[in-house]
């Protein structure tokens, strides 16, 4: 449905081409939070231990009660690569892919921005921000931490 004002509206930003997350029932809390710009983890509601990847039972006390906890969004780079060939689907330029060790003590696969591949080092302090995907979703990505 078109309206007369549409032709004079400023150009829309390019549509995101990044793949949308694959959402499973046990990890839905993570992606729902990401859509709102929140970076969260899963903890056992009985023994309070964090776990990742998400799962329906605590491996320590076997409780099925879960709670969603906010994470600091800070971590350090553990490993880093740049996929060259074949080109990753959904990216104009190959991204830097990293595993980040979160302050809370587990790792996450994500992207690193605002730095050249040659400058990335193990232990580089990083912080979270969010990148848009196809289908109006967001995923957590990282950049060097600002002092």
């Amino acid at each position: 449905m078109s309206t007369p004002t549409e032709s004079t509206a400023p150009a829309a930003p390019p549509k995101p081409t990044r793949l949308a997350p694959i959402v499973t029932l046990d990890a839905k809390f993570f992606w729902d939070a990401a859509d709102k710009g929140e970076f969260v983890g899963e903890a056992c509601a009985d023994c309070n231990k964090l776990r990742f990847p998400p799962r329906p039972m605590c491996p320590h006390c076997h409780s099925v009660k879960r709670t969603v906890v906010p994470l600091s969004g800070r971590g350090t780079v553990y490993t880093w690569i740049q996929p060259r060939h074949p080109a990753p689907f959904g990216f104009k330029e190959p991204p830097i892919v990293v595993t980040v060790e979160l302050e809370e003590g587990y790792r996450l696969v994500t992207n690193l921005y605002d730095i050249a591949l040659e400058e990335v080092k193990q232990g580089l302090p990083v912080e979270v921000f969010f990148a848009p995907t196809m289908g109006n979703h967001q995923v957590p990505v990282f950049r060097p931490r600002r002092a």
Partner: protein
Amino acid sequence: MTRHFREAAIAGIGATEFSKASGRSELQLAAECSKAALDDAGIHPSEVDGMVTFTIDNSDEIGLARCLGVKDLAYTTRIPGGGAAAVATIYQAMAMVNAGLCNTVLVWRAMNERSQYRFGQPHTQNIGPQAGNGTGSLLWCMPFGAQTPATWESLAAQRYMQQYGVTNEDLGRVAVAQRKYAATNPAAWFYGKPITLEEHQSSKWIVEPILRLLDCCQESDGGVAIVITSLDRAKDLKQKPVKIVGACQSIPYNVEVISNYYHADLSMMPEAEGTAKRLYAQTGMKPSDMQAAMIYDAFTPQVLKQLEGFGFCKRGEAKDFIKSGEIDIDGILPINTNGGLIGEAYIHGMNNIAEGVRQVRGTAANQVKKVERVLVSSGMAGAIFERV
């Protein structure tokens, strides 16, 4: 069949040609390699009573049994974990024979993995939470552009390389050694095509700064089958029996296949160390009892990590072991003497197991002298083959 413990042995191996376009169905490849393995053993195909393959093999047990005319199938099972399943198929077949449940177990893997689909291309389809497909936590990788086996491997391999100062040139020496073996193996896709370290170093980055093109296995069409029976029966069959002295698997807590980023220290390979510990305890053997090894080599870093995991060298020393020629034909431990998955073909690890059998039989294209025992590994599973 009376149930009592029986030693197991490999009685037959078979394969199709290894190509990039087989021109026939995966089921036909499966049937052809299975018939070849049974002919090699001197067992009529109708006698197969156990079948083992990978969860991700596209051919159906009953479809294959119908091709072979199998008269009464007693046991079927499939192994998860992609290539990590390779040696686990031998482990399962051994256990089926040990337990007195089967007399003739057929293990197969057949794929048109170049002409029909390509493992090396971005896996943007069908990577959901599929149990048993070896996909692990790949859903946590896909939106970030880590969409191929090479990227998943590299994200973990880098920690090992950083920890021990392993360079891409160190990895290149694995590729050079294996392509040398392939060059003199007429069954290898890269027969007659050795490479130099310079050629490795000038091949394009697949994943910077970890893997170049020549660090990666091939994408291949083909099939490999292996026939396991009791040691007693194998002694009366067509080939010299190859005894399965022991076989086992190890999946330590928080370890998974390929998207394996969640255990404590990515510079080590807990699954290989766990498999080695269990295998040596089961058999009473040690690394120095082996005259050769066939090691899952989808990518070069896996070879270094498994050499260390199985105790052939200490942690961090695989690069020096390789540099000083110890994996070559006259070294301490010749490995992947068929050229491996890099040089011969990528039949998901099964062609390396068949090479282990040939080395024990004494019929390999690149035969190691005085072979008594060969270790075969697919990272999460291992086995020891022995001359009888």
